[in-house]
């Protein structure tokens, strides 16, 4: 019975991760404004903060990042690398800092979005394959992306944290 329950839990979790990536693709295509959001990145940060398990966070970042890469034109491993690192850092931060404060979350979302973009540029400079990152659209889009992720992340974190707040 336990193994059946575990399998169901894993399957639900896998569906959740797939839904995040698919939703990002659909929304960014249908509504231009969603091009500034990065739902997989926000979820990596959320998972790291709430679970505070670095190894699990590495796995989540790897899976989400590789799924993102597979449905886009970037080289496989680009988003995998950045999301893995972001998830790990957020899990580490979750064990060391008080990440329940709004200001902490805002700063983390801003810094991690910036880190994600900068890493893609660096990886693009090192690798021949296209990695995306800061395109010719440049600084303005990056700032909008940072603000969008921070805002959406705050909203989603606040909504999802309610069961945790009620339990404590």
């Amino acid at each position: 019975m336990n193994s059946y329950g575990n399998i169901r839990a894993i399957a639900r979790f896998a569906l959740l991760l797939a839904a995040i990536v698919v939703l990002q693709g659909i929304l960014s295509f249908r509504f231009r404004v969603f091009g500034y959001f990065d739902l997989p990145l926000i979820y990596c940060i959320y998972y790291g903060f709430t679970r505070a398990k670095p190894i699990g966070a590495v796995a989540i970042g790897t899976v989400l990042g590789l799924m993102q890469d597979s449905l886009s034109g970037v080289a496989l491993g680009t988003n995998g690398f950045t999301k893995t690192l972001v998830a790990f850092l957020s899990a580490t931060a979750g064990t060391k800092f008080d990440v329940d404060q709004t200001i902490t979350r805002v700063i983390a979302l801003i810094l991690f979005t910036l880190l994600d973009s900068v890493l893609k540029v660096v990886l693009g400079a090192l690798a021949v394959a296209a990695t995306g990152g800061l395109s010719g659209a440049g600084l303005g889009d990056l700032i909008l992306s940072i603000l969008s992720n921070a805002l959406l992340g705050l909203v989603l974190f606040g909504y999802r944290s309610r069961p945790y707040d009620a339990a404590t």
């Binding site: 797939a18 698919v22 693709g25 597979s70 449905l71 886009s72 491993g77 995998g80 296209a130 995306g132």
Partner: protein
């Protein structure tokens, strides 16, 4: 919360990062160039993408055809439901007629010899948020090949960079890593049209003594061996810079890349016959079909 040993954590992180770096450095040497792992993920996720896209369209249709009409229907409930039902049927038929008209435009296009072109629906965008790609609901099973060019009746859209069995990914011409061999219709200047991450393209050429002017039409030159010669790209909107070596201009694409619904995926270019019959390759070539003239106002 179980504490994980620091050493194990760092080993796992290092292993994962090295794994991603190795993936990025692997060249795409498989015959399809798409890779087994990417194909598996595409086959697993794109059906869900299509389902969500279809659901979003149905919800939008219901909202536009039912809820938005409640304020205009304050009479008998039965008559209101009947009128709404008839309106939904009418809208559904009208959408089908519009889709048929759009697809009819594809059938009237002249296409190069070789494998028949494939009409594919755009089902999703780029989830990585940093590149300009779209996902199509057609793949290798229907003849879509990696490297194949894609277009709409208005102009080129991009090229297929990944193709799995039932879906494919098209890199749009606005992508920063896209480059298309170009030809200015009026002056016959040859150059390269590059994407820059915005909705406009950049035309670069290095021919001396030639002046680019806004309003000039830009076509594919065929020099890149990807796009057949003579396909419409866009129109010059602004001439940017003139240096000793390279002149640049901004090009507005003919195809409305922000509202793609269907695209036509052409076959892989036959390098021996890179011209397209009936397209506007040069004034001396056979006249273009009226439906394929770039001088018509592009549909927006």
């Amino acid at each position: 919360m179980v504490e994980e040993s620091n050493k194990a954590v760092w080993l796992v992180l290092a292993g994962a990062l090295v794994f991603h770096l190795v993936l990025m450095s692997l060249p795409a040497e498989q015959p399809s160039g798409t890779g087994f792992a990417r194909s598996v993920v595409m086959e697993a996720l794109t059906p869900a993408e299509r389902l969500v896209d279809h659901s979003v369209q149905r919800v939008t249709s219901i909202w536009n055809n039912y809820f938005a009409l409640l304020d205009t229907n304050d009479e008998n409930v039965r008559l209101r439901a009947e009128v709404d039902r008839l309106r939904m049927e009418l809208q559904a038929n009208a959408e089908a007629v519009r889709e048929a008209e759009r697809l009819q435009r594809y059938l009237s296009l002249d296409t190069p010899d070789g494998p028949p072109p494939v009409v594919a629906r755009v089902t999703g965008g780029d989830p990585s948020t940093s590149q300009r790609t779209v996902t199509l609901n057609r793949g290798q099973s229907t003849g879509v090949e990696q490297g194949a060019p894609a277009r709409t009746p208005d102009g080129i859209v991009g090229r297929v960079i990944h193709a799995s069995w039932s879906s494919s990914i098209v890199q749009l011409v606005t992508d920063p890593s896209s480059a298309v061999g170009a030809l200015v219709l009026e002056s016959r200047i040859q150059g390269i049209v590059r994407g820059n991450g915005t909705s406009e393209l950049t035309l670069e050429h290095s021919e001396d003594g030639v002046r680019l002017l806004p309003g000039q039409v830009v076509l594919t030159s065929g020099a890149d061996k990807v796009y057949p010669k003579g396909l419409p790209i866009g129109v010059i909107s602004e001439v940017d810079t003139v240096t000793d070596l390279v002149s640049t201009a901004r090009v507005t694409p003919f195809a409305d890349l922000g509202r793609l619904e269907e695209v036509l995926v052409l076959g892989i270019l036959n390098l021996e016959t890179s011209e397209v019959s009936g397209d506007l390759a040069s004034p001396s070539d056979s006249p273009a079909s009226p439906s394929d003239s770039p001088m018509e106002t592009p549909r927006r």
